[in-house]
Structures are given as C-alpha cells and as structure tokens.
C-alpha cells in the first residue's frame, strides 16, 4: 500500500471561535478501505466536507493520484473520481430503481429516454458491481432501507468513473441484519479496486471491514492504525477519547428509594424489549449513537410516538400516553432535545414561558392573574439565575443556556415527579452547563426521578447513577457509573465491547 490515491496534508480549517481542523493529514491508498473515527466534534465531518469542496480549507493541500487539486470544488473532486455516499438517502419515494440510479444523468436519444437500456445497465451494475439482484422497475418506497442504500451507491458509481468512495455513517439507519447486505457490496467494490473512506461510530464495523484507520480528536490527528485486528477497538477508543472527566459535576451518592417509573418490554418501530426502572432520588442515563433508538425511546415514553407493545407504570399504576399532554398530566416533565421547536415559544416572554405548563395555578377562572404569574417568574429566574433578569424579555433574545434554564424553570414551577431531559446541554456554554447540572442534582436530592438522554458520554457518567446503553434498538448494557471510564462507555455504545468486558 505505498501508492497513495488520496493525500490530504496539513489541512487547517477554522470557524468563528473554533479551530475545527488543525494540521490534519489523511492518506488513503488505492484499493483500501480506510476507516475514519473520532468522537462527535472531532472533525470527521469537517475534513470530509473539505474533501467534498463544501468547505474551503484555510491551509493544506488535497492530492489525488499524484496531482494536487489547484481548486477543491464539488465539480473538480467529482471529476477526479471521488464519490460521496451521504448519510441521508436522498431518493424520490415514487421513482423506480432505474430512475433513481440515473437521476440527473439520464440517457436519451432523439426519440426520448432510453428506458430499457438504462434499466438493463442498472440491473447489470447491481449484479456485477454490488453483488446483488435488483429489479430496475421496483419503486423506491417498496424497498427496505438497506436496498435503498445500495440504490444510492449505484447512483454515485453508475458512470464507472469512481476511484474513491466516501461512506458517511452508512449503517446508521440499518438493523444488524441489513448491514450484511451493505458489507457484501462494499467488499465487492473493493475487489474491483475501488478505494473507500469509511466514516462510522460503530467500531465493530470498523475493525471488521477496514484495512487502515485514522483517528481524529479535537480537530487533530490522534493516531493511525496501519493494521487493524478484531481486538483493535480498545486502542482506538483510547486514542479517540484521551481525556478525563472534568470537575463540572456536582455528583454525590444518591440512595435510590422506592421504584417510581417502571418500563417493561416496551417496543416501537425503532427499538424493542426495553425494560428499566427509575427510583426516587435517582438519575438514570441513556447512552446510544444516533440511530440506536435512544431518541425514539424518549419520544415514545413521552407520548410523541406510539409504542407497539409493552407497559409503563408510575408508582405501580399502569399509564398510557396518547399525547404529551397525558404524560404531563401524569407528572412527567420533558426538556426536549430541540428546545427551539418543541420546548419554547420563542416570541413570548420569559414569564409567559415559565408559566405555560402551570397556567391553572396562576389563573382565576379562565383569566390569567398577571401579578401572580410574574411573581412566580421572578422567583424562578432568581432561583435559576436566568440572565438578563428581566421576565418581560422575549425569549428569542436569550442565550442557549438561559433558554434551557427557562424550560427547566417551567417544570420546576409545575412541580413534576419525573424529569426527562433529552440532550439537556446541547448548545449551552460551559458556565450555564455547570448550573444546569447543579439543578438536575438538586432535583434528585429532592426525591425526583430523572432520566437523562445524551450523546455526550462524559456528561452521562458525571451526572448519572446508572446508564442504560442502547445499540441498534436494544438495551445492550446497564452499568453503574462508579469507576466507569469514558472509554468504556464509548466502547459499549459503539459495539466495541460488551457489558461482561466492562464490568
């Protein structure tokens, strides 16, 4: 593997206030499958977008086949034989396979489209290049997700000009059975001498399929593995993580009291057989990659999505949530991951937002008692240190951290027994993070049961007593956070280790 097909050298890219890539190198030999791994925010997407010509690097060179690209644009990269398989499928539901494969590159004669020729070409391509049978007349909406992924790949490669294919998290929406189909295709492409960059969070896949691996951390190269073995995952994880949990967390030992919230064998479209219990005075975390079913689990618990089967009990009483209002009525508070869309009315004032869930307590009949509402809001903004300390301020003008405190304040005001926090600190600055952690901790001290779903392993370990780990729609591990390392949790979420190996 001496002849490098792609050489990206000293790539630097900064955004206002952030150095996203700092002298990063990425080298791919012809015919190899090269893994690219790193935590969220390590710079994987940024370097892929630099290669795609979407971002312009501040410094550095991109060399393909020994020629430095003078100008890296989507067109020049495409002409050099680089193809991208994006995470999203980008297919038209009511198109046939043939129409999808040839979208934007249809073949036609003077008489019109060469439908039959295109269909034959597409079907032949699936068979010879991807090692699978596919009828060109099938509609996309009748295909499974894995097959749609293959159609997406065929569209990128049908012109037979591809030398390097970049896969961005190709298996994220797939179940484990479906991934095999994709891997068959990927191996088949390798046989044809096509090089690939494989970006994934799933380390088990990386070790299974990649020849070499580049690890990024905080926008820098953090190691390259020129040989990959089945047991390389732990070494990769320590290269990826390489930090300790900072002192952001006020955690004290909780002594969980009686069980409060029990979920038994809950199944829905994207997860199955999920069971867990949250006690009083306890903070439980849910870890899992995008597509693991973690977000769907939270939505289902909160009545936003329908469960297929299973039961939920609060204090031993069975619950059925048809809509979020039912969950609120049962004493559950949700701090949603997308607070701007689901959590707040941005054009209303701080006071209005804080009182939104508990209007009946500050109303006489159908009339809102302004003075009482404002008193509540003033109290709450002092307790939570919401800045600016102006309850009439429009929420849109507050920073992310202060907006999140308003969401929190609303539920504190309402007085819920169970708090569900979905990505509570996304887009929140460090100072406000510490305060939010302290408030969550206080809740647990006061006997509230808390469920935290987060993509930040450090946050989960620092905040929670126990963590449920989800992978491909199942809870694969349940671990105590005492002496749990970030690397161990990352290994669990990426399928790089099992519960037995960790505990």
């Amino acid at each position: 593997m001496t002849d490098a097909l792609l050489k990206m050298c000293d790539i630097t890219k900064s955004f206002p206030g952030v150095l996203a890539l700092d002298n990063v190198a990425l080298e791919v030999a012809s015919g190899e499958i090269h893994g690219l791994v790193g935590e969220n925010g390590a710079g994987k997407s940024t370097i892929i977008k630099v290669l795609a010509g979407v971002y312009k690097a501040d410094a550095g060179t991109v060399e393909i086949d020994g020629h430095v690209l003078p100008d890296v644009t989507p067109r020049s990269v495409h002409d050099a034989g680089v193809r991208f398989i994006h995470q999203e499928l980008h297919l038209v539901q009511h198109f046939t396979v043939t129409e999808s494969v040839f979208m934007g590159q249809e073949e036609q004669t003077l008489l019109g489209l060469s439908t039959r020729a295109m269909r034959q070409k597409a079907e032949a391509f699936f068979e010879t290049a991807l090692g699978t049978e596919m009828s060109g007349n099938t509609l996309i909406r009748d295909l499974g997700i894995a097959e749609r992924k293959l159609v997406q790949i065929a569209r990128a490669l049908i012109d037979n000009q591809a030398k390097l294919v970049v896969f961005d998290e190709p298996t994220a929406p797939l179940t484990s059975g479906e991934t095999d189909k994709l891997f068959t295709a990927i191996r088949k492409l390798k046989e044809q001498g096509i090089a690939m960059i494989y970006v994934s969070h799933y380390l088990a896949e990386i070790t299974g399929i990649c020849d070499r691996v580049t690890v990024l951390r905080n926008g820098q190269n953090a190691g390259r593995f020129d040989e990959v073995f089945d047991d390389s995952a732990p070494a990769m994880i320590s290269a990826m993580v390489g930090r300790e949990i900072d002192e952001l967390f006020p955690k004290t030992e909780h002594t969980p009291a009686a069980p409060r919230f029990e979920v038994t064998d809950l199944s829905a479209e994207k997860f199955e057989d999920v069971s867990f219990t949250i006690h009083r005075n306890e903070i439980v975390g849910v870890a899992g990659l995008v597509g693991s079913g973690r977000e769907d689990l939270i939505d289902t618990i909160y009545g936003l999505a329908k469960p297929r089967s299973g039961t939920m009990k609060i204090d031993g009483v069975a619950q059925k949530f048809r809509a979020p209002a039912d969950a609120v009525g049962a004493g559950i508070a949700l701090v949603p991951r997308d607070r701007r869309h689901d959590g707040l009315v941005l054009d209303m004032s701080v006071s209005d937002n804080i009182n939104l869930a508990a209007l009946d307590t500050v109303s006489r009949g159908t009339l809102e008692n302004r003075r009482a509402a404002n008193a509540v809001a003033t109290d709450m903004s002092e307790t939570l240190d919401i800045r600016p300390r102006n309850i009439a301020a429009t929420l849109r003008l507050l920073s992310g951290g202060n907006q999140q405190k308003v969401v929190l304040g609303r539920w504190l005001n309402k007085g819920a027994d169970i708090f569900i926090l979905d990505e509570p600190t996304v887009g929140v600055d460090v100072g406000a993070k510490v305060e939010i952690y302290q408030h969550i901790e206080n809740l647990a001290q006061d006997g509230v049961s808390v469920l935290v779903s987060s993509s930040d392993p450090g946050e989960l370990i620092g905040l929670c007593d126990r963590i449920l780990v989800m992978l491909r729609g199942k809870i694969v591990a349940e671990v105590s956070t005492t002496d749990l390392g970030v690397d161990e949790l990352v290994a669990l979420t990426t399928g790089g280790a099992t519960q037995e190996a960790v505990s």
């Binding site: 994006h86 999203e88 980008h90 297919l91 038209v92 539901q93 009511h94 198109f95 129409e99 040839f102 979208m103 934007g104 590159q105 249809e106 073949e107 036609q108 019109g112 489209l113 509609l139 909406r141 569209r155």
Partner: protein, 321 residues
C-alpha cells in the same frame, strides 16, 4: 400486512366511487353510453384538459404537498384573460387573430413570470401567490371586458368549435396532439425526468446536480403557456369570451389533476392522470345533465368528490410513512 391491504383499498376507493357513479349514469340515461355522448364529453373536457396539463407540470416540479408543494390556481384566470384579450382585439379593435394571440401570449408570459418570481424569488407559498394572482387577473379581465360577453366570429375559432379532422372534432384532435407533446416532454425526456426529480425530492435533485430552481420557474411558465392555449378553446366553446367561466374551470382543474393521482399506478400526479381526470370530470357533468340533475347540485357533488379524493390521498400518504 393488514395495514398495507387497507392502504391499497383506500387508494382504489375514489376509483370505485367513480365507477359506481358511471354505472348508475349509464343505467339511468339511455344515451349515456353512446359514441355521440362520448364525443360530447371529450369536447366539453377540452379546456379543462389543457389547463390541467399546466397544473400537472407545476405539481410535478413542485411536489404534491398541497400547501408547500407546487400549485398554480391562476391558470384558469390566465385562460380567461387571454380569451378576453383575443375577443376584444378581434371584435372590438378589429385586429387580426395572429396579433390578438401574440398580445394574449405576452399577457400570459407576464403572469407566469410573476408567479415564478413570487414563488422562487420571494419564496412565497405557491397556493397564496397564485390565488392572489388569480383574483387580480380576474379583476383585470373585468376591466377589459366591462364584465360583458364579447362574441367572436373569426373563422379559425369557428373551425375549432365546429370543424372535423378525419371525422373527429377538431378541438379533440388538436388537444390530443398537445397532450402527446406535453407527455413526451415531461415523461419521456431527460428534461422531464429532472423536473419530476425536482418535485419528488428537492434535496435529492440538488445533490444529483439538477438546477431545481430553474425547473420550478419553467413549470410556472409552462402553466401560463397552457392557460394561453386553453383560451382559444374557451373562446371556441363559448363562441366568444364570457365573464365568470374561470370559477368552474378552477374547480374542475384541481379535481381532475389530483383525481389523476388516484388513477396513476404510482399514486402521484402525472400528465396522463390529469387528462384522464379531466375526461372523467367532464363525463360526470354531461351525465348529470343527461339525467336531469339540478345544476346547483352538480357543484355540490363535484366539491364533495374533491374532498373525497384529496382526503383519501392524505390518508394513503399517512399510511405509507
């Protein structure tokens, strides 16, 4: 499995309702199933078929989401103002047909360009943009005609009304040619496939290197063009321009185009579907008249059918996702 079966039943439900209606009409009226009636149905359908071609193009390029997708409600108004301009030029101003039609073409082009600018340039919702445009254009038509009927006796227009080509009504033959041209362009060329991709998934089309904004602009220009062509047939059918015809045409156009989606194998708006839909709608009108249904009831029934078709499409979409 059960769900897919019920989804399929839902999808054929509108077709079944129409089939029953036709069965009823042919039993009730002795003349409904005859060649003469069939020709009458086709002749009556002509202007609706042509404006539906335009609407189908806009929906194909903009997507079939009724609010956010592509829709152009100003096509009938375009046809009516073009008819008014042509009638006014021929009868009141004494100009030639070529001059009158060129002037009308200019008006249609301006309407199409403004629609395209509102939707693509200003990112207005097509529904609102073209509805307002329709109201404005209808108002302008009244200014031109003083809200009076203008008769036309030009021999080309009379030929389109009464003439025959190879024994078939001239208007039907000319429309058939137009349908074939539209069909070929939109369904049998790369340009048409790219337009379909634009409406099918804007992101997917963009990623495949298709200039989607250009296709949306073109679809509104095509719609205006269809309105212009339709104006000639509107003139022929009514032997002149008469105010107030756009309202019924608007209703029939929307019904025909979305009814066509129920007829198409993929359950999406297509040109064939729109044409078939227009013929079916015309057959209903002719059928209702032939069995002597009150004219006021006809409107009520048509409205109810629109609701039925759109509702079953909405439920089908929901079942799919």
């Amino acid at each position: 499995m059960n769900q897919t079966l019920s989804t399929k039943l839902l999808a054929v439900f509108p077709i079944a309702v129409f089939a029953c209606l036709f069965a009823y009409l042919s039993i009730e009226s002795s003349t409904f199933l005859s060649l003469g009636t069939f020709e009458l149905i086709l002749k009556q359908a002509v202007p609706t078929v042509i404006v539906s071609l335009g609407l189908a193009a806009v929906v194909i390029a903009g997507g079939d989401d009724v609010v956010a997708g592509g829709i152009d409600l100003s096509i009938p108004a375009t046809a009516i103002i073009c008819a008014a301009i042509i009638a006014d030029q021929l009868t009141n101003q004494g100009n030639t047909l070529v001059f009158a039609m060129t002037l009308a073409f200019g008006a249609a082009a301006i309407i199409g360009a403004i629609n395209a600018f509102l939707v693509v340039g200003l990112r207005m919702t097509p529904l609102l943009a073209t509805l307002s445009m329709s109201v404005a254009v209808v108002g302008l038509t009244k200014v031109i005609t003083s809200s009076r009927r203008i008769g036309v006796t030009d021999e080309s227009i009379v030929f389109i009304r009464d003439g025959k080509i190879m024994g078939v009504a001239a208007s039907v033959i000319l429309t058939a040619v137009l349908v074939v041209i539209f069909y070929h362009a939109l369904h049998r060329t790369r340009w048409g496939m790219n337009m379909q991709a634009t409406g099918g998934s804007r992101d997917a089309a963009e990623i495949s290197g298709i200039l989607t904004r250009r296709f949306v602009v073109q679809s509104f220009l095509i719609a205006a063009f269809a309105g212009w062509i339709a104006s000639v047939f509107v003139l022929a059918r009514g032997s002149g321009s008469s105010p107030g015809t756009e309202e019924n045409m608007l209703l029939e156009m929307v019904l025909a185009t979305f009814l066509g989606a129920a007829f198409s194998p993929r359950r999406v708006v297509t040109l064939w579907g729109a044409v078939l839909g227009a013929v079916v709608v015309s057959a209903l009108s002719v059928g209702f008249i032939s069995i002597g249904v009150n004219v006021f009831w006809t409107g009520c029934i048509k409205g109810a059918l629109i609701l039925l078709v759109v509702a079953s499409a909405a439920v089908a979409t929901k079942g799919r996702s």
